[in-house]
Symmetry: C2
Subunit: 462 residues, 2 copies
């Protein structure tokens, strides 16, 4: 709860959001916030983080609350702090005070929610205590792992329409998250020369996020084994020939996220092979961002990344053939096996709790192609959308040592030439890009990304 952040502008923002929702649905919606998840015992919980859909319309990350949205009005359901809780938790704001803060039209104790359920749609919250409660009260299964149906689906689609395009209040928070994330990455680069382990660099980065009273929007990746895409271990010692891949993002107190990756040499100096590959990835990164304007299909941005990487690898003699043809055969995916990015907002993969409903435009579905199947976003871009652009190059043993893969692509990969780039395990360069009416704005542009500039940051002379 962030009482110090309250202002009429919050209530105004929330008013506009539910007015927009009311134009899209003609039935009530009830959104639950969720309850804290216990760690090893009931009183030792993970830090509470409310459901993003709740936060979008209620503004605050309140535990054990619900809101009802109907015809542009907001009703808050939550219990006042229990008598005696002031001993442990101090004087916390009660229901009426929070109702004023968020501009609720009415406020009731949680027990009265059952009187307001009729005809209401909802979206499942992730914690089982809450989706069980949702299911019991609404008398139908509300399960996070099941696609929504009926009015729940209509509600999900309406909320997606709103959340796809960020309003000014959202952008203000997203810029704060981006700024702190940039500072965290600079701290990481400044720490790496003296650090002995991945964990030390992670500590330097997350310190910045904590010091700004934010949290990490996802579990940080800080590793010299960048080819392990979801690496959440931090135990490796740093050696001077290593590249460190750091994928770390901040989340503001009201839940808005950033998501940034940089890759830099532990020694402060790329080897010539590392620099060559780095420049290929950077070329893809820059080409993709250059193309971001309203109306462009995000899938085409992804394919541009694939083609640019293929071209770069052809120039380096690692691949042979024509870039477009290589991409058509998914050759790029040997080295770039994930999508070029995703939606970003309250969730680091925004609205991924709804499966592909938000990421994929109606009528579009995930490709079964190896080189396209991991694409998380497939929509035409619109002003106000925030996306990540994060091409990469990885030498994943699981892929490159696969005999079937090697025989299938033996005509286009020069394995001997590739072996000269053994000191490149994984490189990714990721920024957060807002689609604007004029084109785009990189929210994380303050963090340098050229090989020279990241070397400079590591060496302390940038």
């Amino acid at each position: 709860m962030l009482i110090q952040d309250t202002s009429n502008s919050l209530a105004h923002t929330l008013h506009l959001r539910r007015q927009s929702l009311a134009k899209l649905i003609d039935f009530p919606a009830i959104l639950w916030s969720g309850s804290p998840s216990p760690r090893n015992f009931a009183a030792n919980t993970f830090p509470f983080r409310a459901s993003s859909h709740f936060i979008y319309f209620a503004g605050l990350s309140l535990p054990n609350a619900a809101i009802r949205l109907a015809a542009g009005e907001l009703e808050l359901f939550m219990d006042d702090p229990k008598s005696g809780s002031a001993l442990w938790y101090g004087e916390t704001p009660g229901r009426e005070q929070i109702a004023v803060t968020i501009g609720a039209d009415r406020a009731y104790p949680m027990s009265e929610l059952e009187l307001y359920l009729e005809g209401a749609a909802t979206i499942p919250v992730q914690d089982a205590a809450t989706w069980t409660q949702q299911s019991q009260l609404l008398d139908r299964w509300i399960l996070p792992q099941q696609p929504p149906q009926g009015i729940d689906l209509q509600l999900a689609e309406a909320i997606i329409q709103l959340r796809l395009v960020h309003d000014e209040a959202a952008l203000s928070e997203l810029r704060k998250a981006a700024a702190v994330t940039v500072a965290a990455h600079k701290a990481g680069m400044s720490a790496v020369l003296k650090a002995k382990t991945e964990a030390e660099v992670r500590g330097a980065m997350e310190q910045v996020i904590i010091a700004h009273n934010m949290t990490c929007s996802y579990n940080s990746i800080v590793t010299i084994r960048g080819e392990v895409l979801h690496n959440e271990h931090y135990h490796h010692p740093l050696r001077s020939g290593d590249l460190l891949l750091a994928d770390v993002g901040a989340e503001t107190q009201t839940g808005w996220a950033a998501d940034v990756t940089r890759t830099y040499p532990v020694s402060g100096k790329f080897s010539s092979t590392q620099c060559d590959i780095y420049d290929v990835v950077l070329a893809a990164h820059d080409a993709c961002i250059d193309k971001i304007v309203p109306g462009v299909e995000y899938e085409d941005i992804h394919l541009l990344a694939c083609t640019t990487i293929a071209e770069g690898l052809i120039d380096l003699g690692i691949l042979q053939g024509k870039a477009e043809e290589l991409v058509a055969r998914d050759v790029h995916a040997l080295f770039f096996p994930h999508g070029v990015g995703h939606l970003l907002g309250l969730d680091v993969h925004d609205m991924e709790d709804l499966g592909d409903l938000a990421g994929y435009e109606e009528g579009k579905q995930r490709s079964s192609r190896f080189g396209l199947g991991y694409l998380r976003l497939n929509r035409p871009l619109r002003p106000g959308m925030l996306v990540t652009i994060e091409p990469g190059f990885y030498q994943v043993p699981f892929i490159l040592n696969n005999e079937q893969v090697r025989s299938e692509y033996q005509d286009v990969v020069n394995w001997e030439r590739l072996s000269q780039f053994a000191d490149v395990r994984g490189i990714r360069i990721e920024d957060d890009v807002l689609v604007t009416t004029q084109g785009h704005e990189v929210l994380t542009a303050a963090l340098p990304n050229t090989a020279d500039s990241v070397e400079g940051l590591v060496m302390g002379n940038w």
Copy 2:
């Protein structure tokens, strides 16, 4: 998963633990590890932390696993990584490799667990996905919020007997947690002069924990509002007259915890009133630790803290009367409303998932007295037990502004004198104390706690 920590000594330790268990129960026990808890969407989980009972006998924090303990033998149930997971998670150890690491006698896929359920007792895991699975497989309710019954209760009591007294392997981990926690607190003290907010001090402290590849064993308390006992906000600016209360502890990669509190002046210099109260709390802290020897009742340690605080407040003119009589009337609890400490081990409140079964000796129950009801531990001390000692002094408005309280205690509290100590909101001094055959050993003794020494640490001249 901590493959780098594997050694025969882990397998040996686990062997001894289950041999001990086999002497206490004559039926099989199945312990589940639990599954990761989702944060805002399924793929964005909180960092996984296995159930402490599982860790105690399996050694590693493995997700989605179970072990069966019967007659001193260990059977591991877990699935191998899915085909394709190597792309995202790298080459992770499979079931057989982990079985060797932990010295399991046999290992099976999770699906075979249903063949081994007969007559088995268990303990509920905190996450709902797992306790639902436990309930379904064992065909009875296994609920974390319900006291265990029958063989589940017998199992819980047997495990408590073992976990109450730490073995050498546990102590080795607990010492590591204590050492990193000491370093984190020193970093906090070194940061406070330059810090502008609570969050910045928290960042400096948690950086140390992260850099050692540990986690926080509980959500840190770092606040100038120390009178709010469970304060998990970090937004206050620091002002020069403030005392900062920092209650922060590290947890090792295999789950063993520390729990330490220090309170120090933001300016580096206690006011005379702050110093007076600090010395009262420190006197209670030192007196309690001095008394720790095998055989002593922990409740008597608590009462000694109460009496020492009462004496100190009498000396300062805040209370009047005889200390023992004041404590009998719970006057101490106006300023010291919590217990003097608790068990510490794999959980920061060790085995609190079992309610008071671990904390309270058979036949003892929570007191309804205001001054005793929050005591979490009420047992005679034995060598190998690890407890916290954490007396405090707080001016909690909820208590001190209560008219009934003021009238009940008007004859013993000098409210006018108390008002001269308005710059003391909350002070707590907490260390982790191991009961030894000779007496005790303070695992966190490397962190100074006298008023002079904490001033010195803050000023950088200690």
